[in-house]
Structure formats: C-alpha cells, structure tokens
Symmetry: C2
Subunit: 153 residues, 2 copies
DNA sequence: TACTTTATTAGGAATTATTATTAATAATAT
DNA sequence: ATATTATTAATAATAATTCCTAATAAAGTA
C-alpha cells in the first residue's frame, strides 16, 4: 500500500478532513477502528479488498474483527466516503452486448438498462486506457436510488 | 423474466445463432443445459443472478445442478456471449472519488486507475438516465487483459 | 473528573455465494 | 449403433460476508 495518494499529501489530508466532518455531521463516533479503516482505503491506490484492509488495520489494532471492517466499509460507502469497485453481493448477468449502461440502485440492488438515444454517444475512452492493456469491454454503471425506492420511503 | 428482448424477436434470434456458431467454433458441445442457460440470460432484461438462472432452467431441466449453471455462465462470459454486471469474487474499495475510471483485468483481477487527461471529458450521461432515479455515482469500468498478463502468456 | 448513555466493537457462529471432485451421462464422430 | 470424450449431477468443500451477543469505549452531562 502506498502512503500517499499519487504522491499528493494534500489530497489525503482533504479526505481525512471530509471523513471527520461527515462522521460528526451524521452523529457517528470517530473511533480508532473507523478512522484507521478509512485511512487505509484513503491512502491506498490498490483498491484493497475487505480482507486486505483487515490485515492492514490489524497491524495497528491487533484485535480488530473482520466484521467491523465489513460493517465500517459499508457505512463509509453509504456516506460517500469511498466507493465499491464492482458490485457487492452476488454476480448478475446480461445477455445484451449492445452499447448501453446500467443504473444500479444502491438501496434495492435492482439493475436497469439505459440505452443511449439515437445519435447519442455514450463515452469516449480516456486516452490513457490503451496503456493499461487491451480493452475488450466497457461497463458504464450509474449508481443511485431508483424511482421505486424513492417512493417507498 | 421477459420472453422477448425489448420486444424484439429478431435480436433474440441473432443471439441464439451467435451462440451456436461460437460453440461449434470452439468445439463446445451444444448441450440442452448450455442452450437453456444461455437462452435464459439472452431472453431476460432482468440481469438475473446465477441462482435465478438456476431456478428458471430447472423448470425445464429439473435435474440441472447449480454448479453447471455457474460453470456455464463463466464459459459463456469467456466467449463474450454475455457479460457480468459488477465484478465477480470479492468486493474491492476505492477511496478516490475524483472522476476516473478503472481498468479491470479479467485474467488476474487487478484493478488499475485511469485518470482522464486535462481537458478530456470522461463521458456525458445518457439522457434517459434521469428517468431511472437519482444518479449519485458514475462507475466506468474498462475490462480486458492487462499488460502484465499479456506478457506472461 | 467521574458518571451515564448508547453506539460500537470483538469474537465466534451462521449464512450465502461460489468452486472443486468424481462417477455417471450424453453429444458428436466414426 | 458404438466409441470417445466433453459435460453433467450430486455433493462436499471453500470463500466471502453477515448476524448475534455480551463487553467496551466515545461523547455528553453533572
């Protein structure tokens, strides 16, 4: 894990400040565990898994439990302090390979298709993409709260 | 599950034809199980989970096993006959909320950041997006084979 | 500072999702 | 029709995540 985010200390500081503000705003206690778990993800460029976060946090808090890590990561995601790569829970499949994107409801987990209008361009690939490897698929996912969930609450 | 894809029978037929061609091309046997599993996903607009596919297939092939469904879905994905929404395996987290996208290597699972160049616009949201609900995050994922994996065979 | 309240946590058990194993089955070529 | 060999069913095993409960500790209050 890197100790700085792309070599930018200020960015890390900004994230930590935001974290504390958000917690206090929501009335969440800033516990050692919560702070350390957030720090671990905020400092890393490696998109760590829950297990990796657990291992890293355990070096300083040897008794931290894996459940705490999962619980905290979920609540940090809820507060928009970090994001989850891919989707949680089980895999879902799509037989439609035409260019379109998915609206994923973060509350109920439902996945909706969004097709671009005729003539509407979905996206242009960032130029740095080709340096990473061979791009075979593009997945564009919009996350938010779906209409149904907005209505029922 | 819908029996037609957005009301277009031709699209479904196209997918089935492609499926058979791909299987024969790769020397894979077109078994009842394989065909029914593919059909189930190809006919559906609901991005079914492996479990859902299993339930649907079992109505016609009562003895199909869950393992077969998982195995077949994975091979269909490999053949680019369907795609997986989100990521398989474990969840991974990112503390960087600045606009950027991820290159996900489908071979080794590694996740790399790609930041747009200065002035480069990542994407414009499809106009249909706002009808789905409130978009809170945009996740752009490029999938392919990373440089490292390309080199080591 | 000590006390109280209540969210949070550790530890372990339970659940869910996915993958591996192996003998039996069935699709294709002959 | 038969042989060959990929594929499958059934079940066990593993991996990932979540639940449960008593113990702990953060933040407010006296």
């Amino acid at each position: 894990m890197n100790l700085t985010v792309n070599g930018q200390k200020e960015e890390l500081q900004k994230r930590l400040t935001r974290f504390e503000k958000q917690c206090r705003g929501k009335g969440l206690r800033v516990t050692q565990q919560r702070r350390k778990i957030f720090c671990t993800v905020a400092q890393s460029c490696e998109h760590p898994s829950a297990e990796k976060v657990f291992q890293a946090v355990r070096r300083e808090l040897p008794n931290v439990s894996l459940d705490t890590v999962y619980r905290t990561l979920a609540s940090l995601e809820e507060m928009d302090l970090l994001m989850r790569v891919g989707l949680s829970s089980k895999a879902r499949f799509d037989g439609d390979l035409r260019p379109h994107c998915h609206f994923v409801c973060t509350r109920c987990g439902e996945v909706y298709d969004i097709f671009p209008q005729a003539g509407e361009e979905l996206l242009s690939l960032p130029s740095a993409a080709k340096e990473m490897g061979e791009v075979k698929q593009v997945h564009l996912q919009l996350r938010g709260i779906c209409k149904k969930c907005q209505e029922r609450k």
